[in-house]
Symmetry: C2
Subunit: 267 residues, 2 copies
């Protein structure tokens, strides 16, 4: 399997602390040695860094840990391959343009082998060979077909994304992070947690290396930062698990909406 | 204006030597301080690095100069902004997916202000505000409309790309590097040169910094590497200028085809 890391914040925020712990799992404290990647939505654009080597040995990973890139939305992924060879073309996150926006996506899990026939492709086509990228292309096609233009009411879009994720969850394990440059979407099939940090800020201690930070020293009282991850990154904070089948929509660090599996209600 | 750098090679080749000289022009030996980017087509995938800061001051640029990424096709760009603010979203190269392939593109020049109305958009939309990205989206739409699937005969595609480039050249200055993951396309409106290095390899001396390399020490007799640039990068080699209106198509370091302005013939 793989692991996911995401961030949504109301001010441009660097994720160096969390990334430092997360990337340790790519070969040191975790077995996810088959590549890693990270996408940043900065105030003025989008960029991503990907490397098919273990993050623990990657000079690009070292740069990302040391060079604070301040952004409002981040999606990162460390890979332990199942479907698709270990190579750059199969390294998450994947991205495509829709409505003049960069969409970025990373997946943890595995779909059953019928994915290629069950999920017909339209305008978007994978460049690699993973089930993950195929599912992303299919998902974007569903969105584009339903909304050739951005919907005026984002809740319609959230409903559609949840329906598609539920369909994908029926085909295997589908934990996902997705962004359309405005929202961060987290969908849980089996394993996903989140934490929101806001004033009064305290101290956090990483699980994967000896590192502690006092967030009160690098924030203002207005900052709100949510981190989403496959499993908690710190040992002294309470992370909230997603429900199976739950989509949570974040913006500026806050939960803007939730969609749960049928029977569990909708906020 | 800006400057372009491209490479086509028949073996995975690192471009560190040329990039080291080229990126000096982003604030040291040249005025192109408004961002820089580089795209690599490696054997197993595509990735790009972009930074809206001067390359001469960029930690990511230092990494790229020191960390040999071996690829067969490279497109790089240093920016001196005219249309569009200096920010990450307006930093070349731009990329989109077509036919399950990454297409990458960088532009040097400026189109007249009518571009937004003269070049109607279809499926691809810019995420930034430059004339360059708008022209790229328009170009990909022309290709997609003409060839929903990759043409069996690539010469038809080359004809179309040349026709589109000629149309863009009528609207201002349009020097361009483009790749569809198979070929490197260079189109010259006013300024573009290229050089092909093959056995017997010799020594090259950079123009923009004190650096000399003896290629015979890091190549085999079968290697063929072509470098394309806005202006020569070395002082002791003969670079060949493109003609105005000429499209040259490179693959594996070799010239695979040329399209020239009407009246100048076609190879």
């Amino acid at each position: 399997m793989c692991e996911l890391l995401g961030m949504s914040a109301n001010v441009p925020t660097d994720l160096c602390f969390s990334v430092a712990g997360f990337l340790r799992r790519g070969g040191a404290t975790g077995p996810h040695r088959d590549g890693w990647g990270i996408a940043f939505y900065e105030d003025d654009g989008y960029r991503e860094f990907r490397d098919p080597h273990p993050s623990i040995e990657s000079p690009i990973a070292r740069l990302i840990c040391d060079y604070p890139i301040k952004s409002r939305i981040v999606i990162s992924h460390i890979r332990q391959a199942n479907v698709g060879a270990v190579n750059l073309g199969n390294t998450h996150p994947f991205s495509r343009e829709l409505w003049g926006r960069h969409w970025s996506y990373a997946h943890n899990g595995q779909l059953d082998q019928s994915f290629a026939t069950t999920l017909p492709l339209g305008l978007y086509h994978p460049t690699g060979t993973t089930d993950s990228e195929h599912a992303f292309c299919w998902l974007l096609d569903q969105i584009r077909q339903a909304f050739p233009e951005p919907p005026k009411e984002p809740r319609q879009l959230w409903d559609l994304i949840h329906q598609c994720c539920e369909q994908l969850r029926q085909m295997g394990v589908f934990n996902m992070l997705l962004s359309d440059a405005q929202y961060l979407y987290g969908f849980c099939s089996t394993k996903l947690v989140h934490i929101t940090r806001r004033a009064p800020f305290g101290e956090a201690r990483l699980m994967d290396m000896e590192m502690t930070i006092d967030f009160s020293g690098c924030t203002t009282e207005h900052d709100v930062v949510t981190v989403v991850a496959t499993q908690p990154l710190t040992t002294n904070e309470a992370w909230t698990p997603f429900e199976a089948g739950e989509l949570v929509i974040f913006q500026e660090g806050e939960v803007m909406g939730r969609r749960r599996s049928a029977g569990l209600g909708v906020i």
